[in-house]
């Protein structure tokens, strides 16, 4: 008798029809949030994502005022039941009804993205790695790494035909959260301080106890390798990249960079890893190179290191050819240094954002059946020049003009990348005599000089560190 009841109960709890697909089909066309929540999200969507009842906290207090996000999720560990402790959430979910339009770039979509970003950066959400927005018609996954938030998937259409696969892919991505954020430091214009930025950013991040790898992917100049006085590793980068069979470990090409500093009582060691460029790579003409390497080669190789570092910084070459394309294709986000007094560097930043990066995204999406977003541009910053108020106004006007022109020509709004959230105050990295001088000593300025350190620490905090 007992057995019979149990069986029926199981059947009752989980009838055949209670799958993602049928729950989705059964949802009324304009179901409000409460119905979407009750009939789709709670069961079966969260079940399919792999989060049990005890691994979900509804109306999770973000710690910023009284703001609450619809759900926080985290897998339980032996003693730490998320529902009880409500500590260290891993995923936030902002839910909408079907009556709210989440079509990409619609007004309500933009508002919802703004909302989830705000929650992701709230005090109680520091441990969060992922954000989801959905109304059961559309869904988008965002990745949060430190302070950096970027789309992990495009805004995807949910349909009965793809809901199972889509949920499965999102579940897998959340399960395999990569440790590293890959940042390409790129501007089509030379001389904007890309290499200096990479080296000093790496130095600052290591002083914040982050594990960092920097990659010299500008074989023609080799500034990064030279300015740190580094010799190529056991295996050349070229040999690694060319190995499409994946039989050579990229780690063989990595060289550690370590500096010891004596303080009053003890010795402090700072170190990061460097993937130096080799002469072989520098000497091969591009047409020959393309017979053995693809623009995805760097990305594929770096995937093997994604759990060994907190940050992977790529120094990209100033053009839009094989090396820089590969660097941007391999990255999650693109940091674009500019000079306020160099109009070309500003115009090139605009071209990068409106043309090059969308190309990368299109290719990435094609290659992943539309499930991966591709690289995202971070807002630009002014690098290392003294800025007077008059010069700042001049630069701001130039940027305004670029924004207006692009909007007129292509309808694209570049203001989120070329202006700061609060208006037109772009992050400024001041100049410092020591930063330039340090290059001669083959030591990052941020290791040796307090002012240089504080400047780059500000940069790291602006974009990356929470």
């Amino acid at each position: 008798m007992i057995q019979a009841i149990t069986r029926e109960d199981i059947k009752g709890d989980r009838p055949e029809a209670n799958t993602l697909r049928s729950a989705l089909v059964a949802l009324p066309k304009d179901a409000p949030e409460a119905i979407v929540n009750n009939n789709f999200i709670v069961t079966p969507f969260f079940d399919a994502l792999g989060f049990s009842l005890e691994e979900r906290v509804p109306e999770f207090g973000t710690g910023k005022g009284h703001q609450k996000v619809d759900y926080a999720l985290r897998h339980n560990t032996d003693e730490n039941i998320f529902l009880n402790t409500q500590a260290s959430p891993h995923v936030l979910v902002e839910l909408k009804g079907r009556d709210i339009d989440l079509t990409y770039n619609s007004t309500s979509y933009k508002a919802t993205v703004k909302q989830i970003k705000k929650y992701l950066l709230a005090p109680n959400c520091k441990s969060v790695q992922w954000g989801i927005i959905t109304n059961s018609k559309h869904i988008q996954l965002f990745r949060k790494h430190g302070k950096t938030i970027y789309p992990a998937t495009p805004c995807l259409d949910i349909k009965p035909d793809n809901i199972d696969e889509l949920t499965d892919r999102i579940r897998k991505r959340i399960k395999n959260t990569p440790k590293a954020l890959t940042i390409a430091v790129y501007n089509n214009k030379g001389g904007v301080g890309k290499t200096t930025t990479v080296i000093n950013l790496a130095a600052v991040l290591t002083r914040h106890k982050k594990k960092v790898l920097i990659i010299d992917f500008d074989p023609n100049q080799q500034d990064l390798t030279n300015s740190l006085g580094i010799q190529a590793g056991k295996t050349s980068l070229y040999e690694c990249l060319k190995d499409k069979k994946n039989s050579i470990n990229l780690k063989n090409a990595i060289v550690p960079y370590t500096k010891k500093f004596k303080s009053k009582n003890n010795v402090i060691t700072f170190s990061f890893d460097v993937l130096p460029v080799d002469l072989q790579l520098a000497n091969i003409p591009e047409d020959k190179l393309k017979t053995e390497l693809s623009t995805h080669s760097l990305r594929k190789k770096l995937e093997t290191l994604k759990n060994d570092y907190d940050y992977i910084l790529i120094d990209a070459s100033p053009n839009w050819r094989f090396y820089s394309i590969s660097a941007v294709y391999a990255s999650d986000v693109v940091l674009i240094p500019t000079k306020h007094n160099n109009i070309c560097s500003l115009e090139n930043a605009a071209v990068t954002i409106k043309k090059y990066i969308p190309e990368i995204q299109k290719t990435r999406q094609e290659k992943t059946q539309g499930l991966e977003w591709g690289a995202t541009a971070l807002p630009i910053f002014f690098n290392g020049e003294k800025i007077t108020d008059a010069a700042r106004i001049k630069a701001t006007n130039a940027i305004k003009k670029i924004i207006q022109q692009v909007k007129k020509e292509s309808g694209l709004d570049l203001s989120p990348y070329l202006e700061s959230k609060t208006g037109i105050k772009i992050f400024e990295l001041p100049s410092n005599a020591y930063i330039g001088y340090a290059a001669f000593e083959k030591i990052p300025a941020a290791y040796k000089n307090k002012i240089a350190y504080s400047y780059y620490a500000e940069l790291a905090k602006e974009y990356f560190l929470q």
């Binding site: 499409k244 069979k245 994946n246 393309k290 017979t291 053995e292 693809s294 623009t295 995805h296 080669s297 990305r299 594929k300 839009w320 050819r321 094989f322 394309i325 294709y329 190309e359 990368i360 299109k362 290719t363 290659k367």
Partner: protein
């Protein structure tokens, strides 16, 4: 976009990352003897393999399978390949260009010369099943038949040109396909009507709102429709 994709590039790829797909039957002799010749040179396959990218660093052959078989037999680790795009049309035409697939022509619309050359091709094949078929006769009769309405190739067997059901008709399927037109309701040509089936004739009769056609045989149906 060209910057971002390898399509059109000549690349030197590991044999291990190329999926062979369905390798066509080529004689062991030709493969091994060519492999030996290739080994006597610097081992470069000047005729490239044609591949498409199915995933990053994964490729699949779409043309020149023979080159792959020879490279494998010669023990080459890498082969020169041209990367083609992923479309089905590209794959189809590449196989034809490589001589590994036979192109088909549309018999619904083909010209007399096209029909003739297709039949000649079939008859000239070693082991042809069309021995004894007289090409001028077959060409004429097929050309003059109302082939624009044919749903399949079977009406050819009624043309008394030596092509009978079974292997002979099947041989024709290698080179011909059809895109049949719908039969016009006011069709009166008795020759054309004759080529249709009884069911098709009755359909036309129904559309013309004729009566008492249910029990007629084919000849009488044709007579009825060519008059009314």
């Amino acid at each position: 976009m060209s910057n971002l994709s390898d399509v059109g590039n000549l690349m030197y790829l590991d044999l291990d990352i190329i999926e062979s797909g369905d390798v066509t039957n080529t004689s062991e002799y030709l493969i091994n003897a060519t492999a030996k010749e290739l080994s006597n040179t610097d081992g470069r396959n000047w005729i490239p393999l044609i591949v498409k990218e199915i995933a990053e660093d994964e490729y699949q052959i779409i043309g020149n399978y023979f080159v792959y078989a020879v490279a494998e037999a010669a023990g080459l680790e890498k082969v020169w390949c041209i990367i083609a795009d992923n479309s089905e049309a590209t794959e189809k035409v590449t196989k034809m260009l490589a001589g590994e697939a036979i192109p088909k022509i549309n018999l619904s619309t083909a010209s007399r010369d096209e029909i003739k050359s297709a039949l000649e091709y079939l008859v000239e094949q070693p082991n042809t099943n069309l021995k004894g078929v007289k090409i001028p006769v077959a060409t004429n009769r097929i050309d003059e038949a109302p082939r624009q309405y044919w749903q399949d190739l079977s009406p050819i067997t009624n043309l008394k040109c030596g092509i009978t059901k079974g292997k002979k008709l099947q041989a024709l399927e290698k080179v011909f396909y059809l895109t049949p037109q719908s039969i016009p309701d006011d069709l009166k040509n008795s020759q054309v009507l004759n080529s249709l089936t009884v069911t098709e004739l009755k359909k036309i009769a129904k559309k013309r709102k004729l009566t008492n056609y249910g029990k007629l045989n084919k000849k009488k149906l044709v007579d009825l429709l060519s008059e009314n």
